[in-house]
Amino acid sequence: MSRVLIVGEHASGRLNASTAKCVTCAAAIPGAELAIALFGDDTAAPATDAARLAGVARVLRFDHAANTHALAAVIAPQVAAIAADFTHVLGPSTTFGKDLMPRVAALIGVTQVSDIMAVESASRFRRPVYAGNAILTVEITAGRKVVATVRTASFEAAPSSGSAVVESRKVEASIPTHTRFVSLSSADAGRPDLQSARIVLSGGRALGSSDNFKLLYSIADKLGAAVGASRAAVDAGYAANDMQVGQTGKIIAPDLYIAVGISGAIQHLTGIKDARTIVAINKDSEAPIFEIADYGLVGDLFTVLPELEKLLS
């Protein structure tokens, strides 16, 4: 039997959607018994969310002042210390999990499986390499603990229909003081999060200025959509870093993705290819984005966007 520990991600008293996706991945491991560990100064609220996730047996709270900010150097020794009770330790492939989980794996003494996109057995997984241009099937050597990150775009969120036991725990681990949190500046403007939004509208370099991104924002507000950007648009300074969609930015899987003025570089396509429906609006009919779009519209975005806004009002 597999005993799977998921390191939950949370912020501002809310469980991040990435955790529910890790639960779906973990539940695909045959015979898995699932526990979620939460590290924070007060995890009562996210623990309530976590306990509702279907398939989870236990939620373990590790509340400690040192855990206020999710510092990998602080949390990793605690995860490693409790890992002995589990066959698998999973975290999300978000910047939280990517930062933390390899540090956990090294302390345990195993190589990590990065970005699980499919579970074939308790020890066999599929993961993308070369920016998604090749897919590996990998097997963990028998008897080794599995430490892995989960590619959240590959899994649906587990439904909130469960009722797990919540336990407050303490762990013996030496917590370093060499790493200190200073600040977090967020570009959040009250819009849905890119990684959990049902609809995402992204702009490319063809938008021409940060001011023109307002065209996207006003449509996004009508659709309840998140706004993303291509790497070219971010590099040109039209959009904030945390809006970048693609292999080197955020990998997303919304129900509807609308790419506006984005030609479709490989690294961008890698970040969106799990979207259910892709729409491309571009004036270049040869743009590679049209090769993968479900609906393509060849036209000038400065004409199309105002029309769209009117039609959606």
Binding site: T95, D99, A106, L136, R180
Partner: protein, 250 residues
Amino acid sequence: MSKVMVCIKRVVDYNVRVRVKPDGSGVITDGVKMSINPFDEIALEEALRMRERGAATEVVAVSIGPADAQQQLRTALAMGADRAVLVQNDGAIEPLTAARIFLKLVEKEAPGLVILGKQAIDDDNNQTGQMLAALWNRPQATFASKVELDGKVARVTREVDAGLETLEVDLPAVLTTDLRLNEPRYVKLPDIMKAKKKPLDTVTLESLGVTPTNDVKVLRTDSPPQRQKGVLVKSAAELVEALRKKGLVA
């Protein structure tokens, strides 16, 4: 700070369209252009800028790979690294083994800072820097987009999903670079000539006393499923109608 160590990986150039071998045994690398992993190039550039503004005295570029990885180390020397070390090994190296090797080099070199790319663009593992920091029992600041050195500490701005996070870490520490940390310089021809005279040492895995791990065995390599090309619509009205029909927009 005296020394910055930069870890460099030889990878398939990022402009190459990678193809999977028909028998599923890997990707085609024969005759394919190889380069320094782009994130590692950013790591090297950051180290060179530290030395140029007097915050570091020496930049050492290190790599693990086949004899041909000397080419990438020569490029690193041409960019401005003072010397280079190649840990020569022909087989595949897992991130944990790479971290153990780099730890051996760290013990020898005693750098004030180790900088690596956040991930290599071949295996996309994103593990080695974090693992080195864990084994070394030192701070890590991953996905760095800005680094300020101030005596015995570094203030590092990190690109995280929620925005930009700033950490303060005691030195020595491990940094991994994100795309926007800097733009690496171009190598000039005279620098390529000069780089030929710079020291490049080669050591073996055995001499470092590291035994490679084999925790994650690759069974098969497949091409990803392709999305099918869809339909072209003629107008915004037609597009909205199609999306409404599928229940995607109200």
